[in-house]
C-alpha cells in the first residue's frame, strides 16, 4: 500500500520531488514573500490552474482539445456565486430592517433581479439557498454538461479539430445566454458584491490568506488525483487511444466512454477552480467564461507543458504573472510579447516548460551517470517526452 501511494499517487522519486517543490513554493515561499494583495492575486491565478490540469489530462494524454473549458469553470463559479449572492441579499435585507426596505426591493432577492423587474426567485435558484446542495451542484452541473457533450460527440466519433470548434461554439452560446438573461444571471456584470460565506467574511485580508491555502491544497490534491488516473490502466489507455484509437476499439474497449470520462474529470476540476475563483475575488462574470479566456486556459497548459500536471500549474502562473506585469509596465507591447511567447512555445517547445526542464535534467543526469538504474517493471508513470502527433 505504501509503495502504491509512493509510485502511483506521488509519481515515484522524481514525481515526489516535483510535487514537494511545488508544495513548498505554494505553501511556504509565496505566503512568506508576498503581501496579502499579491497572494490573493496568486490565489486567483491558481484557480485557473485547475483548468490547465484538467487540460493536461484530456488534451495532453487523451488527445481531446476543448476550446470551451471556460464553460465548466464558469458554471462551477456561477453555482457558488449564486449561493453567495443569496446570502448577500439576505444580509442586506437584515441590515436594512423590515421597515426600511425600499418599496422596490423584494426581500432576499439578488439586486440584479430587482433591477430586471423579477419579483420572485426563479425555480432553478432555489437549490442555491443550501450550501450542501450548492457544493454538489458546483460539481454536478458542469460534469453533467460535459457528460452530455462528451457522449453525444464521442459516440458519433467527433474528434480533433471538429471537437475543438464545437466546444468553442458551445462556450460562445453559453456566454450569450448568460449575458442576455440578465434577470437570471446578472447579465454582463455577472454576480458581484459577494462578501460572506455562511457569515465568514471572504473579503477580509486574513481570511483571504486562508482561502489561498485552501486553493493551493485543493490544487495539489488535483495533481495527485491526476497522477492516480494517469498511473492506472485507464491512463495508459488514454495515451493508447490518442495515438492509435482503432487498435483500442479492436481490443474490446468502448473508446467513447473513456473519452467522456476524462472530459468529465477535466470539467469537474475546472468547476472546482471556478468556485475557488469566486471565493478569491468575490465575483463572477460572463467575460471570464467566454472564448478568449478558454483559449488562454489552453495556452496555460501549452506553455507549462501539455504532458505535465505540475507544468500546467507553473504555466498558468508564468503566463498570468507575465500578462499582469507586462500589461501594467508595457501596455503597448505586452500583446506582442504574449503573442510571441505563444508562437515560440508552440513552434520550438511543444512540451512547454516541463519539456525544457526534462531536457535539462536529462542532460545533467546523463552526464552524471550513464544509466544507473535500469527501469524495472515497477517503474512509475514517467511522463513521455515527445509530443503527441496532435
Amino acid at each position: 500500500m505504501k509503495s502504491f501511494i509512493y509510485n502511483k499517487a506521488l509519481g515515484g522519486k522524481s514525481g515526489t520531488i516535483g510535487l514537494a517543490v511545488l508544495a513548498v513554493i505554494l505553501l511556504l515561499v509565496f505566503p512568506l514573500a508576498m503581501d496579502n494583495f499579491r497572494l490573493n492575486l496568486v490565489g486567483k491565478y491558481l484557480s485557473l490552474a485547475f483548468v490547465a490540469i484538467g487540460l493536461v489530462l484530456c488534451w495532453g494524454y487523451g488527445g481531446i482539445l476543448s476550446l470551451g473549458q471556460g464553460m465548466f469553470w464558469g458554471l462551477g463559479g456561477y453555482c457558488l456565486a449564486a449561493f453567495l449572492k443569496l446570502e448577500a441579499a439576505r444580509n442586506i435585507a437584515a441590515e436594512a430592517g423590515s421597515d426600511q426596505i425600499n418599496a422596490l426591493t423584494t426581500v432576499g432577492l439578488p439586486d440584479f433581479m430587482d433591477w430586471n423587474q423579477i419579483t420572485e426567485l426563479p425555480w432553478f435558484w432555489y437549490p442555491f439557498k443550501s450550501l450542501p446542495l450548492t457544493l454538489i451542484l458546483v460539481f454536478l452541473v458542469p460534469t453533467v454538461l460535459a457528460y452530455i457533450i462528451g457522449t453525444a460527440m464521442f459516440k458519433r466519433r467527433v474528434s480533433g479539430v471538429y471537437f475543438a470548434i464545437i466546444t468553442q461554439a458551445l462556450c460562445w452560446t453559453m456566454e450569450l445566454l448568460f449575458v442576455t438573461r440578465q434577470g437570471w444571471t446578472g447579465g454582463i456584470n455577472g454576480i458581484t458584491d459577494l462578501r460572506t460565506l455562511l457569515g465568514w467574511d471572504i473579503q477580509d485580508p486574513g481570511n483571504q490568506r486562508i482561502l489561498y491555502f485552501v486553493t493551493s491544497l485543493l490544487l495539489l490534491g488535483c495533481v495527485v488525483l491526476g497522477r492516480l488516473i494517469l498511473g492506472s490502466k485507464l491512463g495508459k489507455l488514454l495515451v493508447a487511444m490518442r495515438d492509435t484509437e482503432g487498435r483500442v476499439r479492436f481490443s474490446g474497449y468502448d473508446v467513447a466512454n473513456f473519452k467522456t470520462f476524462i472530459f468529465c474529470v477535466a470539467a469537474a476540476m475546472s468547476a472546482l477552480g471556478g468556485a475557488m475563483y469566486v471565493l478569491n475575488v468575490g465575483f463572477m462574470s460572463p467575460k471570464l467564461v467566454t472564448i478568449e479566456p478558454s483559449i488562454y486556459m489552453v495556452i496555460f497548459c501549452a506553455v507549462g507543458g501539455r504532458m505535465s500536471l505540475l507544468g500546467a500549474v507553473y504555466g498558468t502562473l508564468a503566463v498570468s504573472f507575465g500578462r499582469t506585469y507586462f500589461s501594467e509596465s508595457f501596455p503597448d507591447l505586452w500583446l506582442f510579447l504574449m503573442g510571441g511567447v505563444f508562437i515560440l512555445v508552440t513552434m520550438v517547445f511543444p512540451l512547454g516548460l516541463a519539456g525544457m526542464v526534462d531536457r535539462l535534467t536529462g542532460l545533467v543526469a546523463s552526464k552524471a551517470s550513464a544509466a544507473t538504474d535500469a527501469p524495472g517493471l515497477e517503474t512509475p508513470v514517467s511522463e513521455p517526452v515527445s509530443p503527441p502527433p496532435a
Binding site: 490502466k233 479492436f250 481490443s251 466512454n257 535500469a374
Partner: protein, 248 residues
C-alpha cells in the same frame, strides 16, 4: 434465418459496395473450429475489406456473418471483440508511446469498462500472463522498450501478442509477415501454428511459401468474389486461379 452450424465462422452472401463499386460481392466462407484458413488474391480482391466486415469496421450492404452461431452484422466493434474475435491490421497497429509491457497490459481483457480500467490492478497473475505472451512472441527481452522503437517485424509480433492475451476464439490476421526477414517469417509460421491450436485463424497473405507452410485450406478471392477454395495443391492447379495470377 440460418440454422445452427458447427462452423466457427460462417459468412454468407456478404456484400458491400462503395459508391456502387462492389468491393466484396456475395462472398460465402465457412471456417471450422481449429482451422487455419488463408485468404489469398491479387491486390484489390477485397481481402482486407472482408476482414473489416467481419470485425465490424465496415458495415456490409447485405449478407450475414455468424460467429459461433451469433450474428455479428450490426454489432459494435468492441462487442464483436468481446465475443471472441481478434483482429490484426495490415500496417502494424500498436501504441507507439507505451512500452511493450504496457501494450500487452492494456490489451488484457479485464477492466474493459471505465471504472474497471481505473481500478485495474496489474497483479502477479496478470504479470505472469504478460511475460508468458511476451515469450511466445519473441519479445521477452524488449518488455521496457517503447513500441515505436521496435522493428517492423517486432511490431507485427507485438500486435499478435496483444490479440493473444485476450485469448480470442477467432483471430483475423492481415499480412502478418509483411516486412519480416526470412528468419522472422519462419518464427512467425511456427507461432501461427502454435496459436491455431484450439482456435480458428483467418490469415491474409501474399507470400506463397509462407502460405504453403501454414495453411489448412486456402480461399482465393478475385474482384470481390471467391474464385476457388480448397487445399493449397488443389488451388494452385486450378486453371481459373492460374489465369488470375498469370493471365492478362
Amino acid at each position: 434465418m440460418s440454422l445452427p452450424t458447427d462452423f466457427a465462422l460462417a459468412v454468407e452472401n456478404l456484400t458491400v459496395s462503395f459508391d456502387g463499386f462492389k468491393a466484396v460481392d456475395s462472398v460465402s466462407l465457412y471456417v471450422d473450429p481449429g482451422e487455419l484458413r488463408v485468404v489469398i488474391g491479387p491486390n484489390g480482391a477485397g481481402k482486407t475489406t472482408l476482414l473489416d466486415l467481419i470485425c465490424g469496421k465496415t458495415r456490409p450492404s447485405g449478407g450475414s456473418i455468424q460467429f459461433k452461431n451469433q450474428e455479428l452484422v450490426g454489432m459494435a466493434e468492441q462487442k464483436i471483440v468481446r465475443s471472441g474475435v481478434g483482429r490484426k491490421f495490415q500496417t502494424p497497429s500498436v501504441y507507439p508511446k507505451l512500452s511493450v509491457f504496457e501494450n500487452l497490459e492494456v490489451s488484457v481483457p479485464k477492466g474493459r469498462g471505465v471504472w474497471g480500467a481505473l481500478f485495474f490492478s496489474c497483479n502477479q497473475e496478470v504479470r505472469q500472463r504478460i511475460l508468458e505472451i511476451a515469450r511466445d512472441i519473441f519479445l521477452e527481452d524488449e518488455l521496457e522498450t517503447e513500441a515505436e522503437l521496435l522493428s517492423h517485424g517486432q511490431k507485427q509480433w507485438l500486435e499478435i501478442g496483444m490479440l493473444l492475451i485476450a485469448d480470442p476464439e477467432l483471430i483475423l490476421l492481415d499480412e502478418p509477415v509483411a516486412g519480416m526477414s526470412v528468419n522472422e517469417r519462419g518464427q512467425t509460421a511456427e507461432l501461427l501454428k502454435r496459436i491455431a491450436k484450439g482456435r480458428s485463424v483467418v490469415v491474409i497473405e501474399h507470400d506463397m511459401n509462407f502460405v504453403r507452410q501454414i495453411a489448412d485450406r486456402v480461399t482465393v478471392m478475385h474482384q470481390g468474389k471467391v474464385l476457388a477454395e480448397g487445399s493449397m495443391d488443389k488451388v494452385e492447379s486450378d486453371p481459373k486461379v492460374i489465369e488470375v495470377y498469370l493471365g492478362h
